[in-house]
């Protein structure tokens, strides 16, 4: 589904990603872990097409199409979803209006007409229940006045509504208490299917107790320096990232 080859990217002239390789197949959940400054959020930003990130080398293919050639909205319409680490507030624009616009824009891209209001509302109701999201939040302005946990749940709620093929969760666990973490993870798990894939970017192993990955990658200094089964996360938790830092020669790739 996603194939990243030798990706190099820089921000303000400083190279952050230094030759990153990653293959994600449908039905898989990949966790990307790494210390602060290793390039985790840069990867999420480059995948979604945020301004200010310059790709200097390498390629990203999404279902065979060159993702780097696409505008951010076209990437979204192709089925790439980013759950933001810091969801943005848009005053005066209600969540529901925002979602309706997004759903119909994506449908129109795929040659479909607007969704029937009745169907749309039914789905909103269903997904909102799944995310244990207060019904009133849906009518409030996008993320405005939401608590940290509500914002993150709202991200997953939007994901549920938009049904992406590839979802990137950028530090979705940061700032969540244990209950919110449980709800968010349950939401993600319900959305897992053989047809979609997830990239879970996180600093801590905690989230991976709930969203169990098929493979864990360690990102360090702009490269994936170690990949392994889910147990790798536990090992990292136990030994810390210094363990990786101390064996710079230890670069291996595991393909599953």
């Amino acid at each position: 589904m996603l194939s990243i080859k030798n990706l190099k990217a820089s921000v303000e002239g400083k190279e952050i990603l230094k030759g990153l390789n990653l293959e994600v197949k449908a039905g898989e959940v990949h966790a990307i872990m790494g210390p602060n400054g290793s390039g985790k959020s840069t990867l999420a930003s480059v995948l979604s097409g945020r301004d200010g990130y310059e790709v200097t080398e390498g390629e990203i293919l999404f279902e065979g199409k060159n993702l780097l050639d696409m505008e951010p909205e076209d990437r979204a319409r192709e089925g790439v979803f980013l759950a933001f680490q810091y969801p943005v507030e848009i005053p005066g624009v209600s969540n529901i209006n925002f979602l309706k616009t997004a759903v119909n824009e994506i449908r129109s891209y795929r040659g479909l007409g607007p969704m029937e209001p009745k169907e749309f509302l039914a789905r909103v109701k269903e997904k909102q229940k799944m995310m244990e999201l207060d019904g009133r939040l849906v009518n409030r302005s996008v993320n405005e006045g939401f608590s940290g946990g509500e914002k993150k749940r709202n991200e997953i709620f939007q994901m549920a509504m938009l049904e992406p093929k590839l979802a990137i969760l950028d530090e979705t666990d940061s700032g969540l208490d244990i209950d919110a973490l449980r709800v968010v993870s349950a939401g993600v798990n319900q959305l897992r299917s053989p047809h979609n894939a997830f990239i879970v970017v996180t600093h801590y192993q905690r989230l991976l107790d709930y969203i169990v990955p098929d493979v864990v990658h360690v990102l360090y200094q702009g490269r994936i320096v170690k990949s392994g089964p889910k147990e790798l996360a536990l090992e990292l938790e136990e030994k810390g990232y210094d363990w990786i830092k101390s064996e710079p020669g230890n670069i291996s790739h595991i393909n599953i």
Binding site: S48, G49, R50, D51, E71, P72, E73, R75, A76, R77, F81, L82, F84, P87, V88, E89, I90, P91, G92, V93, N97, F98, L99, T101, A102, E105, I106, Y109, S141, V142, Q158, L162
Partner: protein, 477 residues
Amino acid sequence: MEIIEELTSGEYKYGFVTDIASDNAPKGLSEEIIRFISAKKNEPAWLLEKRLEAYRHWLGMSEPDWAMVKYKKPNFQDIIYYAAPKPKKQLNSLDEVDPELLRTFQKLGISLEEQKRLSGVAVDFVMDSVSVKTSFKEKLAELGIIFCSFSEAVQEHPQLVQKYMGTVVPHTDNFYAALNSAVFTDGSFCYIPKGVRCPMELSTYFRINSAGTGQFERTLIVADEGAYVSYLEGCTAPMRDENQLHAAVVEIVAMKDAEVKYSTVQNWYPGDKDGKGGIFNFVTKRGICLGNHSKISWTQVETGSAVTWKYPSVILKGDNSIGEFFSVAVTNNHQQADTGTKMIHLGKNTRSTIVSKGISCGYSNNSYRGLVKVHKSAENARNFSQCDSLLMGDKCGAHTFPYIEIQNPTAIVEHEATTSKVGEDQIFYCKQRGIDNEKAIGLIVNGYCKDVFDHLPMEFAVEAQKLLSLSLEGSVG
């Protein structure tokens, strides 16, 4: 940013000319012209006297230049002060209306039939200062509500007109008010009797059609004790290379416990993308909360005109009276707007709220200018003002000039203003959800204006949103 390029190419969709022969006065202004207008309208002597008095006063005044707008001052001898569309005979049903005029309604998207059927809005249509048709009159008459053209009111209800006209905006008020008082040709009149809640929204559409004409209409709304009315005003004008002058006066009187809600969607022709042509919109709008517990609320969406100079105001004379001003002003290309409000607190426990949202694009300049004055007599006055400006593009300007004068220590007055641009992070967030640039900006800007749109009657709010998206979008071609 490419949007900026796109924004500057917005086109005016209402720029058609209705082909109806006008019955014009000769160009220029003199006592003779004023007598001509007055005679043409078969006016009583007192009104002619009022006009002449205003004219003589006007001769001694000079055009104000304190607003943050630059324009070539109109040549007042080069304007046609009276242009009535033919036929002028009283019309009783839509069938009698000139089909050309009906097409005008349709192009404006305000077909009377539609309006009648869908919303029960009573419409008074003023073209080139002459009222063409007032619908629903009979229905309103049953409740004792008078809603008619100003000329008709002069004929039918002279005592009411004489009693209130010029009491809120005297002809000495300012240059354009004086000019209007001398040469006004028509407008709307509305009287809601004691205790009556007007069951439908009253609506007037103004349109400047003839070339070389100025539009000088006058609106007078009187809400008697305990009355309520919601009044809508819309404006359009055809595309012309020359600048045309619109100098209107609106007066509102609210008695004890009365409430008047006045909503405007102003979409006069703004000139082309190089700043050629367009309407000079120099308007004096003022209401007085005369009785205790009365309320006047102004809501305006200003997207048109080459130059706008307009400060819908409220004099809060009655104790516990309330004044409100909600405004969205969009300027694009070379448009200039200097608009805001004055809230004059005289009575005890008076309250006022000001919410102003300015959006500047292209090479335009958009200023908020407002006055909050708390007089010594205004115990426990309260005001809250919020003035936000949004800049789109680096060639435009956004300015805020609030004047706050407080002479009573019991007052609580708060003013906040911000200036910013549409957040790049907001646009990216929308894009990541599959929404393109143009739609994203439309969403964000409409969201930014929500506090004001919320105060518009439903069907007007929809029109306002469309208009806003249009002036941002047309552009995004």
